[in-house]
C-alpha cells in the first residue's frame, strides 16, 4: 500500500510562502512526477511528504492514516537524494543494511535482504567497496538499494539522475521504470527535465511557484494543457506562441503551435527565412524568422532546407492551442 493524500498543505519559511494551500491525491502504485522550473518548490513538497520539513498548515494522510506529525522513519517512506547521501565510511553492504540494522532485524535476515537487493541492482561485484570507490551510476544504484531493502510504502526521488551524464541518465531512467514495473510500489519523482517526466510518469504534476498548474497523464498534458505555462513547459522543442492580430484571427489573445504541428512548404500561411537548420538525421529542427517572431519547426529528416532559404509555414489547425489574456486555455 502506498496511498498519499495532501489536504491544504502549506509551507512558509519565515514570511515567504513557498507552498500556498495545495491538494494532491497520489494513488497506490502510481509513478508520479513533480516537474516545474527551478525554485518552484518541488523539493520542498517532497520533503514535506517525507517528513524532513514540518508543514505550516494542512494534513498529510498516508494510507488513510494522518501522518502529519509523524517522524520520517514512522511514515514508512524511502528517499533517494540528489547527492545520493551514502554513508562514506561504510561499505556498500553496510550502507544498504543500515536501515535494516536500525529496524533491529536479525543478522541472517539482513544478509538475505541485502544480497537480494544487490542482485536485483547488479551491485554484487562491488558490495565490499566504499562509496568513494564507485562511479556516479553505481552510487545511484546503492542509494536505490538502500531504499528498496526496507520495502517502503513509497519511494521519493529528488532529481536522482541530475548528476549523471546523458547516456547513463537514459539507462538509469529505464532501470527505475523497470523497478517500478516489478515492485509496483508508489513512486514520487522530482525532476526539472520534462523528458524524464514524459517518459516515466503515470501522472505528472506541473508546479509553478508552489502552485499546482495541472495534474494529468503525460499525453493529457501534451494534448490539452490547461494554460500557457503548462503548454510551454511540456514538449520539446518548446511550443511556439504567437499573439497580436494573427491570434485574433483565431478568436484568441495568443495561440500556441507545437514545432511538430507545423508543415513546411512552398506555399502556406506564414512566410519566413530560415536562420538555423539543425539536421539530426531523424529530424530537422528549423528556426524560422517570420513577421510573428522566431518560430521553431520540426520537419522530417530529409528536408533539404538550409540557412537563408525562404519557406512557408502552415500550422495544423486541429492541433492549435488558444489562450486568453490570463493565459488560460480556451
Amino acid at each position: 500500500m502506498g496511498q498519499i493524500e495532501l489536504k491544504g498543505v502549506t509551507k512558509r519559511f519565515g514570511d515567504a510562502e513557498v507552498i500556498p494551500p495545495l491538494d494532491l491525491q497520489i494513488n497506490d502504485g502510481e509513478f508520479v512526477v513533480f516537474v516545474g522550473p527551478s525554485g518552484c518548490g518541488k523539493s520542498t513538497l517532497l520533503r514535506l511528504i517525507a517528513g524532513l520539513e514540518d508543514v505550516s498548515g494542512g494534513t498529510i494522510n498516508i494510507d488513510g492514516r494522518n501522518a502529519t506529525d509523524e517522524r520520517p522513519a514512522q511514515r514508512g517512506l524511502a528517499m533517494v537524494f540528489q547527492s545520493y547521501a551514502l554513508y562514506p565510511h561504510m561499505s556498500v553492504r553496510k550502507n544498504i543494511a543500515f536501515p535494516l540494522k536500525m529496524a533491529k532485524m536479525s543478522k541472517a535476515e539482513i544478509d538475505a535482504k541485502v544480497d537480494h537487493a544487490a542482485k536485483v541492482l547488479n551491485l554484487s561485484s562491488y558490495i565490499d567497496r566504499r562509496p568513494g570507490q564507485l562511479s556516479g551510476g553505481q552510487r545511484q544504484r546503492v542509494a536505490i538499494g538502500r531504499a528498496i531493502v526496507r520495502s517502503p510504502k513509497a519511494f521519493l526521488f529528488d532529481e536522482p539522475l541530475s548528476n549523471l551524464d546523458a547516456a547513463l541518465r537514459v539507462n538509469m531512467r529505464l532501470e527505475i521504470s523497470e523497478l517500478h514495473n516489478t515492485l509496483k510500489t508508489t513512486m514520487i519523482y522530482v525532476t526539472h527535465d520534462q523528458v524524464e517526466a514524459m517518459t516515466m510518469a503515470d501522472k505528472i504534476v506541473v508546479l509553478q511557484a508552489g502552485r499546482i498548474e495541472q495534474v494529468g497523464s503525460p499525453l493529457e498534458l501534451y494534448r490539452s494543457p490547461k494554460n500557457r505555462f503548462v503548454a510551454g513547459f511540456i514538449g520539446s522543442p518548446k511550443m511556439n506562441f504567437i499573439g497580436g492580430a494573427e491570434a485574433a484571427k483565431y478568436n484568441a489573445f495568443e495561440i500556441g503551435v507545437r514545432p511538430e504541428h507545423i508543415a513546411v512548404g512552398p506555399t502556406g500561411d506564414w512566410q519566413g527565412r530560415v536562420t538555423v537548420s539543425e539536421h539530426l538525421g531523424s529530424d530537422t529542427f528549423l528556426h524560422v524568422e517570420t513577421q510573428h517572431g522566431l518560430i521553431n519547426v520540426r520537419a522530417g529528416g530529409e528536408v533539404g532546407v538550409h540557412h537563408g532559404d525562404t519557406v512557408w509555414l502552415t500550422p495544423d489547425r486541429s492541433q492549435m492551442h488558444r489562450f486568453d489574456q490570463q493565459g488560460h486555455a480556451l
Binding site: 522513519a73 554513508y87 536500525m102
Partner: protein, 290 residues
C-alpha cells in the same frame, strides 16, 4: 610536478629551507646529546670530563624518574580524554542554531588566548584556593569543608587546568568538522530510522574521527612538554606527586646546576615522545590516510 626536470628543479628550490630546518633541529639535538655524555656541573668549574652513560644511569635510577614518567602519561591521557570528549559535546552544542551564536563561539575560544602561566595562576588563586577560591566559597555555602585541590589532588588539578586551556582548540577543530558534514546524510539516516543517538554514533562520530585524530596528535606533542602550569601551581609537589618528565629535567639541571644530567633527561624525554608518537601514529594515524 610532472616531469623529472621540474621535480629536480623543485628539490633545488626547497633545499635551502630544508637545510636550515635540518640544522635548526640537529644542532641543538647534537649538543644535547654531547652534553649528556659529559660530567658538566655549573657549580664545579674545570674540565668537562667524558662520563659515558653515567648521567643516564643517574637519571634512570633517580627515585623520581618512574613517578615522573607515569605522571607524564597520566597528564597527557587525562587531558586528551577530557578535551576530545568535551570538545565533541561542546561542538554539538555550538552547532545548534541559537541566539547569540557568534558571541558564544568567541567566548568558548577565549581560554586559548590566555597565557598558560596566567591561566594556571588564575585557577590556583581564584578557583582552587581553599580560602580565596570560588570552589572554597561554594563549599562554605553548602556547609562542607573546602577542598584543597592543589595539595590533595595536585595532578588532577593540573589536568583540569590544562584541559580547560586546550578544550577550545579541540572544540574549534571538531566544530568545523561537524559543520562540513553533509546534512543530507543526516536526513537519509533519519529516514532510515536512526534516532538521535544512532545518528551520532553511526554518522557523526565516524565523520569526526579524522578531525579527532588531528586534535589528539597535535595536543599530544604539546602536552608531553607541559611545564609552566606545574611551575606556577605546585612546583611539582607535594613531593613528586605532580612532577612530569619536563619538570624533572628542569629540577635536576637548573635547580642542581647539572647540565649533563639535565641533557640526559632531555634526551630521554625526546625518546619517550617519539615512542608515544609512533604508538599514536600506529593506532590512529591510519585515519589520516585516503
Amino acid at each position: 610536478m610532472a616531469t623529472q626536470a621540474s621535480r629536480a628543479a623543485g628539490r633545488l628550490m626547497i633545499s635551502p629551507a630544508v637545510i636550515v630546518l635540518f640544522l635548526w633541529m640537529i644542532v641543538p639535538l647534537g649538543m644535547t646529546i654531547y652534553f649528556s655524555f659529559l660530567r658538566y656541573n655549573l657549580l664545579i668549574p674545570g674540565d668537562h670530563a667524558f662520563a659515558g652513560f653515567e648521567n643516564y644511569q643517574f637519571f634512570f635510577t633517580d627515585p623520581n624518574f618512574w613517578p615522573a614518567l607515569i605522571n607524564t602519561l597520566l597528564l597527557v591521557g587525562g587531558v586528551l580524554l577530557i578535551t576530545t570528549v568535551g570538545g565533541i559535546l561542546l561542538a554539538l552544542l555550538l552547532d545548534q542554531p541559537m541566539f547569540g551564536q557568534g558571541i558564544v563561539r568567541v567566548l568558548v575560544i577565549a581560554p586559548f588566548f590566555v597565557m598558560p602561566t596566567v591561566s594556571a595562576l588564575v585557577w590556583k588563586n581564584m578557583f582552587m584556593n581553599p580560602v580565596n577560591g570560588i570552589f572554597g566559597w561554594l563549599a562554605n555555602v553548602f556547609g562542607v569543608p573546602p577542598y584543597d585541590f592543589l595539595s590533595q589532588a595536585p595532578l588532577l588539578s593540573i589536568i583540569l587546568i590544562v584541559a580547560w586551556q586546550w578544550l577550545p582548540f579541540a572544540t574549534l577543530i571538531l566544530l568545523t568538522a561537524l559543520q562540513s558534514l553533509d546534512s543530507e546524510q543526516l536526513e537519509a539516516a533519519e529516514m532510515d530510522g536512526a534516532g538521535p543517538f544512532s545518528r551520532f554514533f553511526h554518522i557523526m562520530l565516524p565523520h569526526l574521527s579524522r578531525a579527532a585524530t588531528v586534535v589528539i596528535l597535535i595536543q599530544t606533542i604539546f602536552l608531553l612538554s607541559i611545564f609552566a602550569e606545574i611551575l606556577v601551581t605546585t612546583n611539582g609537589g607535594p613531593g613528586n606527586a605532580s612532577t612530569n618528565l619536563t619538570y624533572l629535567v628542569y629540577s635536576q639541571s637548573l635547580l642542581q646546576y647539572d647540565v649533563g644530567l639535565g641533557s640526559a633527561g632531555g634526551i630521554v624525554a625526546v625518546i619517550l615522545a617519539n615512542i608515544v608518537a609512533i604508538f599514536l601514529m600506529r593506532m590512529i594515524g591510519k585515519n589520516l590516510e585516503a
